[in-house]
Symmetry: C2
Subunit: 314 residues, 2 copies
């Protein structure tokens, strides 16, 4: 799983950060998922190695403009691309379907690929053989969600040495044992594959939160997550601004990651006030979070983060 | 009057051209008018010397996404800027008001400045002391307009030498004569200011067309215009594409400028097909138009064009 940050600024685009957009790619499948899609997300994709043709799902956290005004142009441009015929599903709060219906109708846009809008509610929003996506409501004064992408458990590791010691000849029988089957050897002994594999291995969990103030829902959603992407609009010295607009400071984001026992925290949705011609206060913002949660990163536009697997004991 | 091209590509943004957006500034007033506002127009303004705080009017030619999907983010960002309190009026085809209402409602956007949407019909859409804006329907398969900005006639040039010869002392009396007043000299003679000024001087006319196929309305709107901004999506060798999608080739745009007796033609809305990694065919596109209408320019993003006054005979 790889996250690519397409927009990491708050509220309005700046010269260094676009408004919110985040791409997720997978190890084995050629699919692109987006989390939020602020204006100019298609422009950022154009300047990245990502391909709009692979777009499969877009999860919208909330309906503030800087998180979804880029949807219309992105979907329209994809419809004009050769070979972009695969379906796209949009997930988001109530009102998103109405917005899309209105915009498609007024602009007489007929998307050439199957297109669906699903209104989400807290709980499971998507599931396939390998991944499940759930969402939880956050605290932002408007219906707003965090999304957790949970990779499913994978079977335990198969121990070929033990199989050989039992007299199983390497070859096709190994494959059946790996899948947990019971085989019968030429001498009549039965060998149970499940006894030759270790414990099932947990899948990775990536959690992407929309704009939010402190809420226990963030902590619950990000419990033991491999990575938590959390907004950090303000420095903690500006906490009154965060209180007023229901945003988070870097320290608040770090506290959530710490309480959730997450493995890594990525800060995004940074207020443009901290990057001016006179200098940047972003090192302070990062340090403030790292003081509470050392494994914190500060996202930049076009920065990619690989969600590695946990090291498992042999 | 100065035109600044913010987006000069057709349909989708490319690495070199954004989707349509065009700014108009004035000699004497600090006002910014926009013609169309494709996605990313606010990003282009951010990278230009233009100021969103000066935005006064936006004229939308038609409701294809690449001409208006940037409105929402642009208006939202302006609302977050200090000192952007002056009113903004939006002009465009039926449906624009519905789109804005829907988007403002769904995103709970409350603009901090007075904001109005006016649905245009062929004819006059705006007028003040110095300028009038009229629009005419074009041929694009969807309600689509060209806008003509007509500077009003200015009084004729005042001839100070003739005034002096009549014995008028230079000073405040000159000002009154310039304004066409009749003054009485100390010796009792009356001097009529109108006799000391030349013929009224015509104002400049800038015409900005939306996407269109050939139509006599373009020619009528652009009659004697100082500048005609016209789409040239295709080379004439691709005319079948223009016929199908109701666009123009460079030759068709040049013919319109020629028929209208315009002074200058600026080509924009260029298909990305002519600029690829293997080379550019834009010199051909420009040459094709110049063969019919020599005073043709090919717009680029961020290029500015000053609409000069006609030289008048002394």
């Amino acid at each position: 799983m790889r996250l690519t940050f397409l927009g990491t600024g708050a509220a309005t685009p700046s010269r260094t950060r676009n408004v919110t957009g985040l791409a997720l790619q997978f190890d084995q499948r050629r699919a692109l998922w987006l989390f939020d899609c602020g204006e100019g997300t298609q422009h950022q994709i154009l300047r990245s190695p990502l391909r709009l043709s692979q777009l499969e799902r877009v999860f919208i956290t909330h309906l503030h403009g800087d998180h979804f005004f880029g949807l219309l142009g992105l979907l329209a441009s994809r419809s004009l691309q050769e070979g972009s015929d695969s379906p796209v599903t949009l997930y988001g709060p109530a009102g998103l379907d109405e917005f899309m219906r209105c915009a498609l109708s007024v602009s007489r846009m007929r998307l050439r690929y199957p297109f669906t809008v699903e209104t989400v509610k807290p709980g499971k929003v998507y599931e396939d053989d390998e991944y499940a996506v759930t969402c939880a409501p956050l605290a932002h004064g408007i219906e707003c969600y965090g999304y957790a992408v949970q990779e499913k458990e994978r079977p335990g590791r198969f121990d070929p040495e033990r199989a050989k010691a039992l007299g199983v000849p390497p070859g096709p029988l190994f494959g059946r044992l790996k899948n947990g089957a019971t085989i019968t050897l030429p001498d009549g002994r039965a060998v149970d594959g499940r006894a030759l594999t270790g414990p099932t291995r947990p899948g990775r969990r990536a959690v992407v939160c929309g704009d939010t103030y402190v809420t226990p829902n963030t902590v619950a959603l990000a419990r033991d997550a491999d990575v938590l992407v959390h907004e950090a609009t303000y420095l903690h010295e500006d906490k009154p601004l965060a209180d007023r607009a229901l945003h988070s400071t870097a320290a608040m984001a770090a506290q959530a990651a710490r309480d959730a026992n997450a493995r890594a925290l990525i800060l995004t949705h940074i207020s443009p006030r901290y990057e001016s011609v006179t200098g940047s206060r972003l090192p302070e913002l990062l340090a403030e979070a790292q003081a509470l949660f050392p494994n914190t990163y500060l996202a930049q536009d076009f920065w990619a983060y690989d969600v590695s697997r946990r090291e498992t004991s042999p």
